[in-house]
Symmetry: C2
């Protein structure tokens, strides 16, 4: 009998994730029934929202239950299929368990398109989540116009790096905010942002006053907390805030202590809009098509931070919240 390895949620974290919040184990791999497939997982996508999935607070989907396998976006190869319409060797991606092998009826999985010149990691890492998030979150929610100033927090992360590059393609002046000189150098030198503020060594507000004295037209929000406050104070008339994430607030499901900025929102006629890429399911092909074309023509670079080994899933995920990742974080589960 074959076995599989799987991560299960042992308890709901209190604050920062610690090792004991999850349990890594092995279990028998059941025989396939009719209508099922066996997926060998190639990569897990590790994403900030996963901290939310294991919390009991308000969220997109029902939270992961205690004792249940942890889940997230995964990509894998169909090793066996007893399901009509899915052939062995197909590359499927979707929301799946943190495991090396998944038995499924295929619900929630779709075939991952392939593009000449793009690796599986770049394709999965870009198109499964962060690319469409960046694409719709910037273009639909914030309508960037040439000459506008766009500020992107978590600028070197999976979504941020793409947002800033699309902003440049649309003619914006793009200022990233990232943690540390290495990330900032990557953002300006490799990705072509106009500037990057290292929030670990600089005062974000003062730097914005220096870099964008006229203010900020678009804030692509991924972090919350004091960085959000510094940018909000500097929004321009008719500015837009695309509210994509709040990573600095994920570990602390405590009272909402950040200021409302209602006065600024009213006086400057701001639009603040929350969104989730799931809302754009029907338009995903548009995003994938455009992102792929930009990547293939060299106008868009996406950087993946690829870790190895399913046993390192939790420690890799922890790195997201301490900013130890560099680009889109993936975990290679099987070769």
């Amino acid at each position: 009998m074959s076995i599989r390895h799987v991560w299960r949620l042992a308890r709901r974290p209190s604050g920062t994730i610690v090792a004991g919040d999850f349990e890594f184990g092995s279990e028998p791999l059941p025989e396939l029934s009719d209508g099922q497939i066996l997926l060998r997982v190639r990569y897990l996508s590790l994403d900030p929202a996963q901290r939310i999935f294991i919390d009991a607070r308000e969220q997109f989907m029902p939270p992961v239950e205690l004792g249940a396998p942890m889940h997230g976006f995964v990509v894998g190869v169909v090793e066996k299929s007893r399901r009509t319409g899915i052939t062995e060797g197909t590359i499927l991606s979707g929301v799946g368990e943190w495991a090396d092998y998944i038995v499924s009826d295929g619900t929630g999985f779709t075939e991952l398109p392939t593009f000449p010149g793009l690796s599986l990691a770049a394709t999965f890492g870009t198109f499964s989540l962060v690319g469409p998030t960046a694409y719709f979150g910037l273009l639909d929610i914030a309508s960037p116009q040439p000459g506008e100033t766009l500020v992107v927090s978590a600028a070197s992360g999976g979504v941020g790096q793409i947002v800033g590059q699309i902003g440049k393609l649309k003619g914006c002046r793009v200022i990233g905010i990232a943690g540390g000189p290495q990330k900032c150098a990557f953002v300006t030198e490799q990705l072509g942002f106009d500037a990057c503020i290292d929030y670990k060594s600089a005062n974000v507000g003062e730097m914005l006053d220096h870099l964008a004295p006229e203010g900020v037209d678009i804030y692509f929000e991924q972090v919350g907390g004091s960085i959000r406050n510094a940018v909000m104070e500097r929004m321009k008339m008719f500015g837009r805030v695309s509210l994509c994430g709040l990573i600095s607030e994920y570990n602390a499901a405590e009272a909402d202590t950040q200021p409302s900025f209602s006065w600024v929102t009213m006086m400057r006629r701001l639009t603040i809009r929350g969104f989730i890429v799931d809302d754009y399911q029907r338009r995903l092909p548009e995003a994938v098509e455009n992102l792929a074309a930009w990547m293939q023509s060299g106008q868009l670079t996406t950087h993946q931070d690829i870790r190895q080994g399913l046993e390192n899933a939790v420690s890799s995920l922890q790195d997201l919240y301490s900013g130890q990742n560099f680009g889109k974080l993936l975990l290679e589960v099987t070769p």
Copy 2:
């Protein structure tokens, strides 16, 4: 030599407006020069934003200077004209001084349209500010759909009463929030809102849970503070907040201590948008035309609270912030 009476700003209020913040006096009325008109003021419009005009904080226009005449929307009759194109007897409205007579070159004034069956007070009180504010703030900012639940704070006030009635015309379920049983009865019985919460005697959140257990699609925000927080907690997925005013926060230019609701905004994909009717200058005729048609057909009622005598301008304005007005507050200056 003729004289005029005028209110001047004596000092910037600290918190609530008190009598000594303004000074009422008389002064010689200058002879008209070429290009000038003499306007006899019929009504002052007293509006919540006037508390902002006399503060030093961030606002729409430069604040009223110390020693300068207080200003706001006014309507009057041209008594003398030395300006080509403006004839005596014309009714002009626009931003003008708190005075019984105004000498002006006409800048900022436009002819007030007249409509059969509508009094000057109803026409000025509705079309100069609150009507277009309600019209664009609801229809443009929040796109109400039939069957949606609309919550209107300051429901019996100048803007609120119109917002709720337009909401009904658009097929929404409309819940007002107002202070006291008399205002609530007016809102439901005279204006036809589906329900009204008396925030002075009831817990707004609990009442919303009871009246709209499925949540709120649109919040027309005019008050800020704890009422805003109670509604924000109950916004539905893809809800819209039309941020028109924050009257509970105008007297306290202190730190922004209201919570951000960023989490709720993200998870529920809310859109929060600040606006000012000035942004819709080009489209004002559309609002006036539709509002007038609704009024003339009896589908829209607007209630004016008309006070008498220029000397009572400050005490009448004070009543706005303590909720002592009932409908659109006007001051009749001359008969």
